[in-house]
Amino acid sequence: MADTMTRKQTEGELAQPESTRGGRVFVPNVDILEKDDEMLVLADVPDAKAQSIDITYEQGILSFHAKVEPRQAEGRTNFLLREYAVGDYHRSFRLGKEIDPAGIKAEIRDGVLALHLPKAEPARKKQIKVQQV
C-alpha cells in the first residue's frame, strides 16, 4: 500500500498547464475499472467537496479539477512535521468512441471521486445464447 498511495508525498507530481490561481495542483492516483456496462474511474481526492469539483468533457477529453483550500493558515501554523502539501487535483482522460459522454455521472464519498462512464450501446458486451437444436 505504501508505495502506491503516497505518490503525492514522494513525487509531488504537478499537473501540466493550469493554475490561474496560486497553489499547487496534484495528479491524483486513479483506478480505471471496466464493467459490463460502464468504465469506472476512481480518484483519490481527499478533502475535495462535490461543489468544488469541475468536470468537463470536450473533444474526447474528460477532465476533472477539484479545488482544495488550504486547511491550515500558511505562515501562522506552527508545523512540527510536514510530509504532504495541500492543493488542487487535476487529471484528464481521453475517451474512446465506446463511451457515451452524455451519460457520464460522478459522485464523491470519503474523498474518493467516482466517475461512471457508461458504454455506448455497440460497446456493451452481449451474451449470445447458443441454441440447442
Partner: protein, 146 residues
C-alpha cells in the same frame, strides 16, 4: 554474546554517538527524516498551538469503522485498512490506488492527555486533536517589577 576486549571505533562512529547524545534531550524527533526512501503511509502533517497538538493524514476511502488510533505514552498509532473493490465483475485497466492494511507509529514530541484525544474523519482527511499534558504547555511567567 559476550563482548570482551576493546574494538577500535572509527572516528565517524564516535562522532555520530556524540551528536546523538547531544540531541537526546531535543523534543522533536530529529532521527525521523521528513522524506525517507520507503515512505510510510499515511503521510502526516503535525502542528501545534498552545493547547493542542494536531495530527492530520489524508486517507481517502478509509471508513471510520476500519480505522483505529490510540496513543500509549508518546507513541501514537494510526491503523486502518482500505478494502479492495468487490461485488460486481470488473477488470482493472489501471490500478494506482493502493489497498490493504496500514499502520503508522509516530513518537509525539511532548506528553499528551491520551484519554482525551479526539479524532475526526471527513472527506478522507483524518484529524487528531491531542490535548497537551499540563506539564507540556507553555506557561506565561509574569515578571514582577519590584
Amino acid at each position: 554474546m559476550v563482548r570482551f576486549g576493546l574494538t577500535p571505533l572509527d572516528p565517524f562512529t564516535v562522532l555520530r554517538g556524540a551528536v546523538n547524545r547531544l540531541f537526546d534531550g531535543y523534543p522533536y524527533a530529529l532521527d525521523e527524516p521528513l522524506f525517507r526512501s520507503a515512505p510510510s503511509f499515511p503521510a502526516l502533517n503535525v502542528w501545534e498551538d498552545e493547547e493542542n497538538l494536531y495530527v492530520e493524514a489524508e486517507i481517502p476511502g478509509v471508513k471510520a469503522a476500519d480505522l483505529e488510533t490510540y496513543a500509549i505514552g508518546r507513541d501514537l498509532t494510526i491503523k486502518g485498512k482500505r478494502e479492495p473493490m468487490d461485488g460486481e465483475k470488473f477488470t482493472y485497466h489501471r490500478q494506482e490506488r493502493g489497498v490493504g492494511e496500514f499502520t503508522r507509529v509516530v513518537t509525539l514530541p511532548m506528553d499528551v492527555e491520551t484519554d482525551k484525544i479526539q479524532a475526526s474523519l471527513k472527506d478522507g482527511v483524518l484529524t487528531l486533536t491531542l490535548p497537551k499534558a499540563k506539564a507540556a504547555k507553555a506557561r506565561k511567567i509574569t515578571v514582577n517589577v519590584g
